[in-house]
């Protein structure tokens, strides 16, 4: 007789190998991105010019830096979830699927890291 619970035995089975976490994460980040992306687009649109001095002055205001960091972070998360599904759908062999999913994850971490570091550099004036 197995000591594992019926729930423990079925978790991770099925073709998706996971529960609704991916789906739910995509929805939550989608909702968060509505105000964040609109804030970003409208803020840039309202600036008198998009030259270096104006944009830097705008982004170094603490509230702008905060929202920009959140934007890059949530955008990265949402985009990562989405493109992961695209790869899962179209890359069929197990090996190249594993490899491309890993590369994708690395790429997103690098891009988000670089973007957030850039915002912080502007915020702290270095």
């Amino acid at each position: 007789m197995s000591l594992r619970s019926p729930m423990g035995r079925v978790l991770g089975l099925g073709s998706a190998k996971e529960g609704t976490a991916h789906w739910w994460g995509q929805r939550v980040s989608a909702v968060a991105l509505i105000p964040l992306t609109l804030w970003f687009a409208i803020s840039l649109f309202m600036l008198p010019a998009l030259d270096y001095g104006t944009v830097r002055a705008w982004l170094s205001v603490p509230l702008s830096s905060l929202f920009a960091v959140l934007l890059v972070a949530v955008l990265t998360y949402h985009s990562y979830l989405g493109t992961t599904v695209v790869i899962e759908d179209y890359v069929h062999s197990a090996g190249s699927k594993l490899l491309s999913l890993m590369l994708l994850r690395f790429l997103y971490v690098v891009v988000a890291g670089a973007g957030i570091l850039a915002i912080l550099r502007v915020a702290f004036g270095s």
């Binding site: 929805r27 992306t37 270096y52 830097r56 890059v72 989405g82 670089a114 973007g115």
Partner: protein, 129 residues
């Protein structure tokens, strides 16, 4: 577990081309385009942190004809993904499934995104920047 030929869902060529599947495909395509947009956004932020020289270089690239095509493409991709995404969120909440509602909201998302993109870029073009 033995490998078995399990029933698969009907593939793309089975479906008649209509607004539902077109917008679904467009949602994915615009999502992929926006992933590259995220790349461009981070590149732009890095240039901004890098100083006046790098920023001018990237700003010039975005202002070039190719850059403008990219930016207007991303404008449409963003607006459509946003509007159609809200449409999806309503579906997730169990609303808007009726045939006429689906069609109306679909056309609203597609034409709304197209119209807004045109408005924004005509405005930018007229303000001469």
């Amino acid at each position: 577990m033995p490998a078995r030929d399990r029933p698969t869902s009907p593939h793309l060529q089975i479906y008649r081309w209509q607004i539902g599947n077109s917008l679904s495909i467009l949602h994915r395509l615009t999502g992929i385009a926006l992933a590259f947009g995220l790349l461009a956004l981070c590149f732009w932020l890095m240039a901004l942190a890098g100083g006046e020289g790098p920023y001018a270089l990237v700003a010039r690239a975005f202002a070039s004809p190719l850059g403008r095509i990219g930016l207007s493409g991303w404008t449409f991709a963003f607006l459509f993904h946003l509007l159609n995404g809200v449409r999806h969120l309503f579906w997730d909440a169990g609303m808007g499934f009726e045939r006429t509602q689906r069609h109306t909201s679909g056309w609203f998302a597609a034409l709304g995104a197209l119209g807004l993109t045109l408005c924004i870029w005509v405005f930018i073009w007229r303000s001469g920047s």
